[in-house]
Symmetry: C2
Subunit: 350 residues, 2 copies
DNA sequence: TTGAAAGCGCTAACAG
DNA sequence: CTGTTAGCGCTTTCAA
């Protein structure tokens, strides 16, 4: 017989009654806690299955944990982030935790809103991917709830970090291009003005790595940086500026694949072909870089590994909140493709 | 003097005491409910600000609402979905609701896990984007919590739907290609085997729309469908099969932009250029279709509008759960680009 | 219009 | 090992 009354949700008390035990025992079985005999466990398990019981997360949260992990993403359009998210969710897949994501939120205000909302909802841990918020806000959040910050250099006493070695990644690109014979290698960077964030942002590290590598290769005089943003439009504008130079670069290192996309647009518009007229490299090794019709040389950041490291660190911190913080730095690798080649007219003058 | 003790969170009771009113009054002000004088409201507002009070969502959820909307996405890698998410979040921006997303989960099992988790967390409403779960599961969820299903045809008594008119969208592509002079127009579809879902899936509608339009244009004999999947690889394999045909098509309608991406790969590999040797059209009008180096003719689905319609419907349903369900169908538009052109060797033989 | 008090479903002390 | 009981922070009757 179907019940047409509003189907009140099964509670822990229903399970207890059905299994003829106390709420406490059911609760213990639920959390795999010590203090329930195998016989009891079995009875409870059966009752849970028979009644289709599911614990109410809000009620749990009021006393203990919510078994929820919040992941804040800066921009879901950037195809690098799905890899990180996959790394996180795969790691937590085997646990009782559920991962929920805060919607793409570039900007301090939006970030604050999302992180506060996650704290309000009693999430057990937060993973903040490439946040742009000022340091003090990150610290404050981390003091309220276990937090791991991904993609931001520098270290904190309150949160763990996972970053890619952007400095080295940039050097990989410069070395690759220099090895091909390029000398005038330009870089399109994301302009960071806020001094508080400056040193911590990956874009800064990449620009710095570029400069240092250029000097190391004896190309210090040819350092040529255009400041725009890590967006498609930024790449488009960046190329326009570079093409206005009295001496055009023979190769361009775009700080992100998305920038390279816009750069490709601008180059096509200018009637220049890649890599014949100019070599182009990106950063992030997104799936679009791999497209045969684009075939963009790029730096692979191991997004999946980044995500699983972050997940593991977060889990450790949830388990022991006073453990000293850790900083994980992952090494990127260069993926050479057809968008980079030796310069046709050897750039030997100077 | 800084307090170094564990900073217990400010509760509604603290606010009440500080404002010298009752918890009830504070609660009413919080929810903008009727029954508090302007003077009281002001006092409470000030106390909230001074104490930096934020309501505990878990506690609220135990009695009333959690002010949380869950959005389930099938695959965050598909660049169409960010538009929908933006539409949703933009709509809810002005409200007290917070949007949280379930991580990309292709497959019934993963979908069930995420939706159940959202129900467990007492979310006030769910938006399921292009779910693959069987109908009965969707109905069950919708009976537990207000739900809007996006991107799935057919209608339900329990949930509202927002879909794009995929049938018409496919026809737009066929007409466009036929107008250009193409006759042998092939289609790469996503194979759907489950009869329970068959008619409801957008991919089915697109294939059907393609067939019908071909007949309408008197090209019924030339209908040519390859069944793979809506993935990059699906597009790659699809082209390989089409090129093996005794008579190759002069134009290909890929069921999704992501499929067209893979198709471009396969075409490049085969040494064929687009649109000189073959015309190619996609579906979704993702930002990558717009890239000048790709310039893919595609169908725009108005993802942002889809999202905001879904948000509005959900909000309406949360307000009145017994309102009859609504089905919103949005009209797609064709965005012609350089990947489609008149066939070079007119396909006039028959 | 205001406030006192009773829960919501669960976990954590503590008693048996 | 098991059960009783007291809250967690909020909303919601229901009196005053």
């Amino acid at each position: 017989m179907e019940q047409h009354a509003p189907p009140r949700r099964v509670t822990i008390l229903d399970v207890a009654r059905h299994a003829q035990v106390s709420k406490t025992t059911v609760s213990k079985v639920l959390r795999n806690e010590y203090g329930a005999s195998p016989a009891m466990r079995e009875k409870v398990r059966r009752a849970i299955a028979e009644l289709g019981y599911r614990p109410n997360a809000a009620a749990r949260g009021l006393r203990g944990q919510t078994y929820t992990i919040g992941v804040m993403l800066p921009d879901i359009r950037n195809p690098f982030f799905p890899d990180v998210v996959d790394g996180v969710t795969d790691w937590f897949k085997e646990t009782d935790y559920q991962v929920l994501m805060g919607p793409g939120c570039n900007g301090e205000e939006a970030e604050a809103r999302v992180t506060e909302a996650m704290v309000d909802r009693g999430m057990d841990g937060l993973i903040l991917v490439a946040p742009v918020s000022r340091r003090s806000h990150l610290e404050r959040i981390a003091q309220l709830v276990p937090t791991v910050v991904v993609g931001r250099h520098g270290h904190s006493a309150h949160y763990d970090t996972v970053v890619d070695d952007d400095h080295t990644g940039a050097a990989l690109v410069v070395d690759h291009l220099a090895d091909l014979g390029h000398r005038h290698i330009a870089h399109i960077e994301h302009l960071e003005t806020d001094p508080a964030r400056l040193a911590e942002m990956p874009n800064t590290q990449r620009a710095q790595g570029y400069r240092q590598a250029m000097h190391r290769r004896g190309l210090g005089d040819l350092v040529d940086v255009v400041s725009t943003t890590y967006t498609q439009e930024g790449g488009y504008l960046g190329i326009q500026q570079l093409l206005d130079r009295p001496r055009r670069p023979t190769a361009v290192f775009a700080g992100a694949d998305i920038v390279a996309m816009g750069a490709l647009d601008a180059l096509a518009e200018a009637g220049l072909s890649v890599p014949q007229d100019i070599s182009l490299a990106g950063y992030d090794n997104t799936s679009f870089a791999a497209l045969r019709s684009i075939s963009l040389t790029s730096v692979d950041q191991a997004g999946h590994a980044t995500g699983s490291h972050a997940a593991r660190l977060l889990h450790d911190r949830i388990t022991d909140r006073r453990r000293p913080t850790a900083q994980v730095k992952l090494s990127p690798t260069l993926i050479p493709r057809r968008s980079t080649a030796a310069p046709t007219a050897p750039d030997r003058e100077r």
